[in-house]
Amino acid sequence: MTKTYPKASRPSLDNVSVSIEKGEFVFFIGPSGSGKSTIIKMLLHEVAPNKGRVVVNGKDVTSMRSWKRPHFRRSIGCVFQDFRLLPNRTAYENVAFALEVIGKTKAVARRVVPEVLELVGLGGKEHRYPHELSGGEQQRVAVARAFVNRPLILLADEPTGNLDPDTSIEIMRLLDRINRTGTTVVMVTHDSNIVNQMRRRVVEIESGRIVRDQARGVYG
């Protein structure tokens, strides 16, 4: 597919074609501005391609109407560099919020939220506010929120971009653990260390073009 933003002189994605299997773990790497986040936005139905098709979970979403987007998003979890937690809610409440706003009852939240917080390694810290948690712990809350609805796909756009190397590795392991439950994980990163340790599929992008697509790849 091809994507040129309005007013942009050159396409941000130029004739890119990738296919990701169910249950796969894929890194998207490349320099800043190469178009990695744009791919994530396509998968979230936030931007549409000018040319080509986007197929997610076996459904062509290229021309999906915007009113169908909310339901579509419920099958996708998403984590960002800046965590995007609600500062006036505790870890528990942040995760529960994501369930309650899609119509799940408080009883369901009471059952599954502690479970998923335990899974991400935050057992015992449910009632801390984001400012009472370290960066790594905040990102764990964000992962818990993305995963609590058991999505088929987890998208992560530079999830370790704000974290130190050790914490980054921990988050990486967490995503790996989630991948092993059968969830497809797509992760955008700058972090060569992580990519080299994991030895998973690597898709490298430069100026909107795929320059490498390698199973069990390394960075650079």
Binding site: P70, F72, R74, R84, V101, I102, T105
Partner: protein
Amino acid sequence: MRVKYVLSEVLVGLWRNVTMSIAMIITMAVSLTMLGASGLMYRQVDDMKDLYYKNIEVSIFLNQEVSEQERTELQTKLDGDPLVKDVLYVNKDEAYKRFKEMYQDAPDLVNAVKPDQLPESFRLKLNNPEQYKDIYDQYKDTAGVDEIVDQSRLLDKIFNILTSIQNIALAAAIVMAIAALLLVANTIQVAAYSKRREVAVMKLVGASNWFIQAPFVLEAVVAGLIGSLLGLVALVAAKYLLFDGSLSALQGLLSPISWGDILFIFPLMAGVGGLVSAATAWITLRFYLRV
């Protein structure tokens, strides 16, 4: 749970920006009061038109030197005129009696006038009051006729004045409504900004559009309904203080406004207040949140 969530969000929203909420509610109240008042006047003027136009007369006054024969001829002609429904002859004594009755509060005036100074007249009821002009053209040059006076001329003037008052109230309602709309749009923008993080998360995890919009739209609707309630209070106060109070002297002239009329106009005010606020909020959100 979701209903409770939405309702508590509405109250929190109104309270978070309470000065703005008050401004919004007051402008809406004023606008809706004007709307209600012009609606009431509309009914009132209709009632009055029915009442007055049904009873108006055309008076043909005879001059002092009219002869017996001229009067009889005129009477015969009027009796046979298809435009005329009813003819009543009022002689000088009768005219004086009516005059005395009409000005019973001003004995000086009554004493200053002698019975034979008042002209005799024919009082006509027309089949169609609007055909006054035909009557006028037909009889103005008839021998013995002094002057032809049509009450509907006066009524037209009065009703023109009432209609312009009504139009002014309506225009004021519209101008205030525009101010109210801008305030609603602004309040909703501020509210959406202060909840931008929540909204971003809700969009990300797939909350439905109505669920994201509902608290904002309902916030505006609640403000609109409170505004219409205040408008109702203002109308009730106006009836109580003005119509039943200082204007009660005009009671015989103005047809009375009943409590029923006011209760009848309230759903209109509440409906307009609620719907217009909801639409404004919804449109604002479409631009501002793009949901």
